[in-house]
């Protein structure tokens, strides 16, 4: 099964163009959607999750037209929105059980098993009788993941799932996803490059509603191989470098700025070639575009 997105456009009533001619083909496995806040990731994911209408374009999931056969999509969908709340006075087990019914798991024995397994899987089993109002941010997020996995979805859309998770939780979650991701389409949006690097066989970078890159992370890395140059610069000179080069990233290491630039050839001036990582891919597409164009 493939998810084929073609020429998707969406402009909100306030004039913001959230999606600009987005076309993607997503195969089974983990697909990473990388982009900064406000890039249009959530808009795209909500559209795939039948929750939003594009102005034009089409989305096809196997034989199903996502935009018109919403019920068909929802049968196989697991969705975790970026931000969500819960009913504060209901406990996790009750709500998950409730949602399981609504997902169509009508056999109560099976439902019990599934609910139990998911609660254990998301490490919420001990807190299952506790009202969701008392959950911490991480626990709530895990609950969200549990519900998205109900009823063996074939299409899982998780919007910024690792936000608010501590590193241990994050690892556990990513492992969980990778377990499931083998014969399922999993679309994972994030602005954390690491998430994609570790998990995804395929990815897209999106900014300001446009797809800037699509391909596999490995391909992306090989694309920039030998093109990333690094230099430690004194703080005082940083501004001058900014003028001179298209910096794709700058960060402080031990209090001194370290800048990366992308160039096909050695820019000289003390820059050292380094093996670029996915972060550089990301930043190069977000910030380096202009430079590439030039």
């Amino acid at each position: 099964m493939q998810l084929i997105i073609q020429h998707l456009n969406k402009t909100y009533s306030n004039g913001v163009q959230a999606l600009k001619d987005v076309s993607l083909t997503i195969n089974q496995g983990m697909f990473g959607l990388l982009g900064p806040n406000g890039a249009g990731k959530s808009s795209l994911m909500r559209t795939i999750a039948t929750l939003q209408e594009p102005d034009s374009g089409s989305i096809q999931l196997g034989d199903t037209n996502v935009l018109t056969q919403k019920d068909e999509v929802r049968r196989v969908l697991g969705y975790l929105p970026q931000e969500f709340g819960v009913y504060p006075k209901v406990d996790a087990e009750t709500l998950l059980n409730h949602l399981a019914v609504l997902k169509g798991i009508t056999n109560s024995g099976e439902r019990k098993e599934v609910v139990k397994a998911l609660l254990q899987k998301t490490n919420l089993y001990d807190a299952r009788k506790k009202n969701l109002g008392g959950y911490s941010g991480g626990m709530k997020q895990r609950f969200g993941i549990a519900q998205a996995l109900l009823a063996n979805p074939k299409l899982i859309i998780v919007d910024e799932p690792t936000a608010g998770l501590d590193p241990a939780e994050r690892n556990r979650f990513l492992n969980l996803l990778s377990e499931i991701g083998e014969n399922t389409i999993v679309i994972l949006s994030t602005h954390i490059v690491e998430d994609v690097k570790e998990l995804c066989s395929d990815m897209a970078i999106i900014n300001k509603g446009q797809v800037l890159y699509k391909g596999s992370p490995l391909q992306a890395l090989s694309d920039i191989e030998g093109k990333i140059w690094e230099k430690r610069v004194p703080k005082a000179e940083l501004e001058a470098y900014r003028q001179q080069y298209t910096i794709i990233s700058e960060k402080l290491v031990g209090g001194t700025p370290v800048i990366h630039v992308m160039a096909d050839t050695d820019p000289g001036d003390g820059f050292v070639a380094i093996p670029g990582d996915l972060e550089d891919v990301y930043f190069s597409h977000i910030f380096g575009r202009q430079a590439v164009a030039v």
């Binding site: 709340g85 504060p88 409730h98 019914v101 609504l102 009508t106 001990d126 506790k130």
Partner: protein, 1221 residues
């Protein structure tokens, strides 16, 4: 700092559009209230009370400052809450602002804004009254003289009553919002306040509670009405309502309470972001992982998505929502408050003169209806909550992506609420039965409970819930949704007032009607069922639209919703919608066919216009000499099942004038749409000379003129046919069980003056001249006709009544024969033939029902036996003995005191409770099931025995009205009603304790004083009463009781006896040549009154006299062993009022007034030890009396025989010591 905070608050509100919106709402509402006929506040103005009178302005201001309490709550509830909701609390509380400045800055800033917003009220009043005349539409006071502009009249009530009310509400809402930090608590509190107002209102039904009720109302509304209840129209037009007395106390108590609440808020408000609640939040349980999540495999579960699983989802969701509502604290709050309101109401329901009814299920259902308001709040509020449930907690995206069909979500929300309703209705039934059991009544009619609540009430809830769903979904903003519902109510109300009153346009119209034990829900069920089917189809259509347009997903723009909506038009949904549309239009047409084709539909305006046209066209015939009916002989066939009847037979008409008559004018009963099948005179066909079909008025020309003194037989047949159902109030006289009609259904002679518009305001509106309510006492036309109309003097009467075999039919007269037979269609019939053996007035009733009969006998002093019969509905046996006793005692007393009873029989027949009265016909008294039959006299020492009293009054009419019918002129009711009232009082006096008599008279006095305060045209002295019940019943009671107290019962009876002897069966044919007036009777009273008391006749009957008696000092000193000398200082004043209530003090002259001294009895109650009349000649008086017991209380006119608006200050506790000099 405080100033800064206040300024901040003002600036904030200045920028909020809502502030201007609130001002606008208030302004427009008030502006239209004073400039249009369609918006009414309070509704006290009109008639004599001028629209811009200080009283009406104060009344409207008081109402407007509490009725829109939601505006106060919206401004005052949120100032602190806002900081929490916008999460600016941490910012705010870390600034160096003190708690005091923060809280009170917020409070006073917002309070100031609220006051400014409410200034819209008086500004709108001023503007409205100033420019009302120049508007393109007519205000209700268009052609009326209103008072000149006086700024103070507008501003004074706002300052004294308005601002205090706003302050009290402000403090409470502010405290609720600040301390609870929850919006919903503010709303619940608003409901609590309104309930307190309601409770105060309920309590007012018992006179003893007036003060308490006035103090209990937080808005001051009840205090206002109690304080001004006896104000005459003149006072209302001229006096500002001062802040004093009860009103001042109410304001002081509540303002004080508000200040306490504010202080409490200050102490209770924690200036911390994280609050330590009463209940410690449970600590987060640390994960104790006893297994490794990695090792868990998620089992594969079968996903079933088909019709069966959708139903399962539906049920799951519905229960989920229902559980959520039940656990919601505000929900529990609303229910509890509503139940408390019911339980308070249970102590007071259906009271008459302080006496309750048996809690029969019909009455309890009436009580349970009071929960409807709370139901409405729950329906509207929780409809909004459920529609917004997922979105308000931000769970909507998860829910919306589930494989749940679109319709399941909304239907589940609906069913969730439905479950709540079903449960609450069950709770109500339990409460109802509890109320019955607590009163020792165990005849629970469970089927009736279910039949009523699970149809009428449940449907009402369903209709409003689906409407609210629709509005919420279309508005797509919870608060705008609520606001739109509010607008919906206002619009519905307004279009109703504007003349769109057809049930097809009044949402959820078609009530089940009142339940009668006799007739059950009778014919109401048909109309109810059709109307509900109509409205149910309508709300189902709305529901379909809601399903199609409901927001699912993250987009709410209507354009998108319409686009997605198309995808939702599944075959079942389309089918459902089409079916409901067909049902809606189908039932709509059927209803229209019934209301407008089978029956005639007229709006209020059209009905008024009809009356106007009738008057303009036919008034010229009003005093045309016409023959009089001298005999009525009819065969009436009643078909109660079909609600039809026919009457066939003849009248004999006699020309009593001295000129021949060629034309006879016949008026059909148009009101009840009775059709004349044929009508002819003396065998030959009379020619129709002229006919007005619309008015049911026909002029027949006799073949030859009717010579003076000659008679003609008028043969006719009329039929009354019920066709389908009507738009408005169906006929409740011809019913399945308990028909009660009288001769007004049959043809009458000449112009019907009673069809004219009576109210002066209405007449002005239609450009008709104002009119007198009755003819002058000197008018020969009035003197030659009696109160039963000008169709006849006395008639010979017989009638055959046929009815269904299970029913007994009764008409005046004696039963000659009863038989069963078949009518022309072959159905079984039961016939009764009644005949009266003496002439009687032209006023007769026909009743028919499935009766039980109770019989007894009374033997008069002359040895003549009178058969007593009560025809009652099975189950209503409670007061039969009382009624029989009253019949006997009354016959005893009246025949001894006034003259013999003219008949050999006396019957009481129960009729359904659609009307609440009893009425005396010749030897026949129809008596409503709503009064008397189900009254409960639980403590004969404390409760007034209403059936006893009403029975005695009606029997009194056999003398006053039937033996002496009075002239149809001003003051007439003083002869029939006041004397029947006096007769009943005397029977009661010889049965009841003096305390009970005093209680009865206290109610009568109160009703009189209230009645005169609301007089629309002019108050008359008793001797000129013009159909004014508060005068001829209530004032009549007080005055007649005082008269017999002053001149003696024997003397009054002697006067009545003499009057009866001279005036029995009066009229143009009698020795007196006319009917008597109240002046005639007054002559007999005067003749029995000693010279020293002649003044009471003038003061009490001929003038409107009010007394102010007040004890200023009461003290006693011991005289010897067991004697006490009581010194009483009191003031005594007398006022005479004109017809508007303008009073002027008049000199007392020489008066006699009671002085009384009470002692404490052994049972702790006050007991009179001294009661004597003392002569009084001036305002200030000192009286010394010797008594033999320790005095406790003393005073002037202590048992309130004289009309006095402040009866409580007549007595005072007596203190030991010498009087001051």
């Amino acid at each position: 700092m405080l100033k800064e905070m206040i300024r901040f608050e003002l600036d904030y509100r200045k920028k909020r559009p809502a502030t201007y919106l609130y001002f606008g709402i208030l302004f427009l509402l008030c502006f239209f209230a004073v400039t249009s006929k369609y918006v009414v506040i309070g509704g006290v103005a009109g008639g004599q009370i001028i629209e811009n009178s200080p009283y009406n302005l104060a009344f409207m201001t008081t109402i407007m400052t509490f009725a829109l309490t939601f505006i106060v709550s919206a401004i005052m509830g949120v100032p602190v809450l806002r900081d929490f909701e916008h999460k600016t609390d941490s910012l705010m509380f870390t600034t160096p602002v003190s708690r005091f400045a923060y809280l009170f800055g917020r409070f006073f800033g917002s309070f100031l804004v609220t006051v400014l917003v409410f200034c819209a009220v008086w500004i709108a009043f001023i503007v409205g009254f100033s420019i009302g005349k120049y508007l393109p539409w007519e205000p209700s006071w268009a052609s009326k003289e209103i008072l000149p502009f006086n700024f103070w009249h507008y501003i004074q009530p706002f300052l004294t009553l308005g601002i205090t009310s706003i302050f009290i509400q402000s403090a409470l809402y502010f405290a609720a919002g600040t301390l609870s930090r929850q919006t919903i608590v503010i709303y619940v509190q608003g409901i609590v306040l309104l309930v307190m107002y309601q409770v105060a209102d309920t309590m007012l039904e018992d006179l003893d509670n007036k003060t308490l009720a006035a103090l209990l109302d937080p808005f001051g509304m009840r205090a206002f009405t109690v304080y001004t209840e006896y104000w005459s129209p003149a006072e209302k037009n001229s006096q500002l309502v001062p802040l004093e007395g009860l009103l001042l106390w109410n304001r002081l108590i509540w303002v004080g309470f508000a200040l306490l609440v504010l202080a409490g808020t200050y102490w209770g408000f924690s200036f911390n972001v994280v609050r330590t609640g009463w209940r410690k939040a449970k600590a987060v349980v640390a994960d104790k992982t006893s297994f490794r999540p990695e090792s868990v495999t998620i089992p594969v579960a079968r996903q079933v998505l088909n019709a069966g699983s959708y139903l399962r989802m539906l049920l799951q969701q519905a229960l989920f929502y229902a559980r959520m509502i039940i656990r919601d604290v505000p929900f529990v709050g609303i229910v509890v408050v509503g139940l408390i309101n019911l339980i308070v109401g249970a102590f007071y329901f259906d009271k008459m003169y302080g006496t309750s009814s048996y809690p029969i299920t019909a009455n309890v259902l009436g009580l349970l209806n009071e929960f409807d308001l709370f139901f409405l709040i729950i329906a509207i509020f929780y409809s909004g909550e459920l529609i917004w449930r997922e979105r308000s907690v931000n769970f909507n995206l998860i829910m919306d992506a589930l494989p749940v069909p679109d319709w399941v979500n909304l239907v589940a929300k609906f069913i969730g609420l439905l479950l709540i309703y079903l449960g609450l209705l069950l709770v109500l039934i339990v409460v109802g039965m509890g109320v019955q059991a607590a009163n020792g009544y165990f005849n629970f009619e469970l089927p009736l409970y279910f039949q009523t609540l699970y149809t009428s009430t449940l449907f009402f809830l369903i209709a409003y819930t689906l409407l609210a769903f629709f509005v919420q979904i279309m508005a797509n903003n919870k608060f705008i949704g609520y606001a739109l519902m509010f607008v919906f109510f206002i619009v519905t109300f307004t279009i109703g007032a504007m003349g769109i009153q057809h049930p097809l346009f009044m949402f959820n119209s078609g009530s089940l009607g009142e339940y009668s034990d006799m007739n059950r829900y009778g014919h109401f069920v048909t109309r109810f069922s059709w109307m509900k089917l109509y409205w149910f189809s309508f709300v189902c259509i709305l529901f379909s639209v809601s399903v199609v347009l409901a927001v699912r997903g993250s987009e709410a723009a209507m354009r998108t919703r319409l686009r997605i909506g198309r995808l939702r038009l599944s075959r079942p949904l389309v089918t459902f919608t089409l079916v409901t549309i067909i049902a809606f239009t189908g039932t709509g047409f059927y209803v229209y066919y019934n209301t407008n084709q089978l029956n005639t539909y007229r709006t209020q305006e059209e009905e008024e216009q009809w009356a106007v046209d009738y008057e303009k066209t036919l008034k010229k015939f009003e005093h045309l000499p016409q023959p009089k009916i001298i005999e009525s002989n009819l065969k009436v066939e009643l078909y109660p099942g079909d609600r039809d009847f026919t009457a066939e037979g003849f009248y004999w008409l006699k020309n009593k004038t001295d000129r021949p008559m060629a034309d006879i004018h016949i008026q059909e009963d148009v009101v009840n749409a009775v059709k004349t099948d044929y009508l002819h005179f003396g065998g030959g066909e009379a020619k129709v000379k002229q006919q007005w079909k619309d008015f049911g008025y026909t002029i027949y020309q006799l073949p030859q003129p009717l010579a003076a003194g000659d008679s003609v037989k008028m043969n006719f047949r009329v039929s009354f046919t019920t066709k389908g159902f009507q738009a408005k109030g169906s006929n409740t006289s011809v019913v399945q069980n308990g028909t009660f009609i009288n001769n007004t259904y049959f043809p009458s002679i000449g112009y019907a003056e009673q069809a004219e518009l009576g109210d002066d305001d209405l007449r002005r509106k239609h450009k008709l001249p104002e009119k007198e309510r009755m003819m002058e006492q000197t008018d020969p036309r009035g003197l030659s006709q009696n109160l039963f109309g000008n169709d006849a003097d006395y008639i010979r009467f017989q009638m055959v009544v046929g009815t269904e075999p299970e029913q007994i039919a009764i008409a005046p007269g004696y039963l000659q024969k009863e038989w069963t037979g078949k009518d022309s269609t072959g159905s079984d019939r039961r016939y009764f033939h009644y005949q009266m053996d003496v002439p009687m007035v032209n006023f007769y009733s026909i009743v028919s029902a499935r009766y039980e009969v109770k019989r007894d006998k009374w033997v008069g002093p002359d040895g003549k036996a009178v058969n007593l019969e009560i025809y009652y509905n099975k189950g209503h046996e409670y007061n039969l003995e009382t009624m029989l006793t009253s019949m006997k005692k009354s016959l005893d007393y009246f025949s001894k005191s006034f003259g013999p009873y003219q008949y050999r029989q006396l019957r009481i027949m129960e009729f359904p409770r659609y009307s609440s009265f009893a009425q005396s016909f010749a030897n026949t008294v129809p008596f409503s099931e709503g009064i008397g039959f189900i009254q409960k006299i639980s403590d004969p020492e404390k409760d007034l025995d209403m059936p006893y009293y009403v029975t005695a009054h009606e029997i009194g009419h056999q003398w006053w009205g039937h033996q002496v019918p009075e002239a149809s002129v001003k003051g007439n009711a003083m002869l029939s009603e006041t004397q029947s009232q006096y007769s009943a009082l005397m029977v009661m006096k010889h049965t009841f304790s003096p305390e009970l008599m005093q209680k009865f008279l206290k109610y009568e006095m109160d009703k009189y004083l209230q009645g005169r305060a609301m007089e629309r045209k002019k108050e008359q002295p008793l001797v000129l009463t013009e159909g004014q019940g508060y005068i001829h019943y209530n004032k009549g009671s007080v005055i007649m009781y005082a008269l017999q107290d002053y001149i003696g019962e024997d003397k009054v009876n002697a006067a009545l006896r003499n009057f009866l002897a001279d005036w029995q069966y009066p009229g143009p044919d009698s020795k007196q040549k006319r009917y008597p007036t109240s002046r005639d009777l007054l002559g007999y009273f005067k003749a029995q009154t000693p010279d020293s008391l002649q003044y009471v006749i003038t003061d009490w009957f001929e003038n409107i006299t009010l007394y102010e008696n007040k004890t200023t000092e009461a003290s006693y000193t011991r005289k010897g062993d067991k004697q006490y000398e009581v010194t009483l200082k009191f003031t005594s004043e007398k006022y005479v009022a004109d017809s508007a209530g303008n009073e002027k003090p008049v000199s007392l002259g020489t008066q006699w007034v009671d002085v009384g001294v009470y002692t404490k009895g052994e049972d702790g109650k006050d007991k009179l030890v001294y009661l004597q009349k003392h002569k009084v000649t001036g305002k200030d008086n000192t009286v010394k009396v010797l008594v033999n017991a320790q005095p406790a209380k003393a005073g002037v006119d202590p048992i309130n025989k004289l009309i006095d608006r402040h009866p409580d200050d007549n007595t005072k506790s007596v203190i030991e010591g010498s009087p001051t000099t």
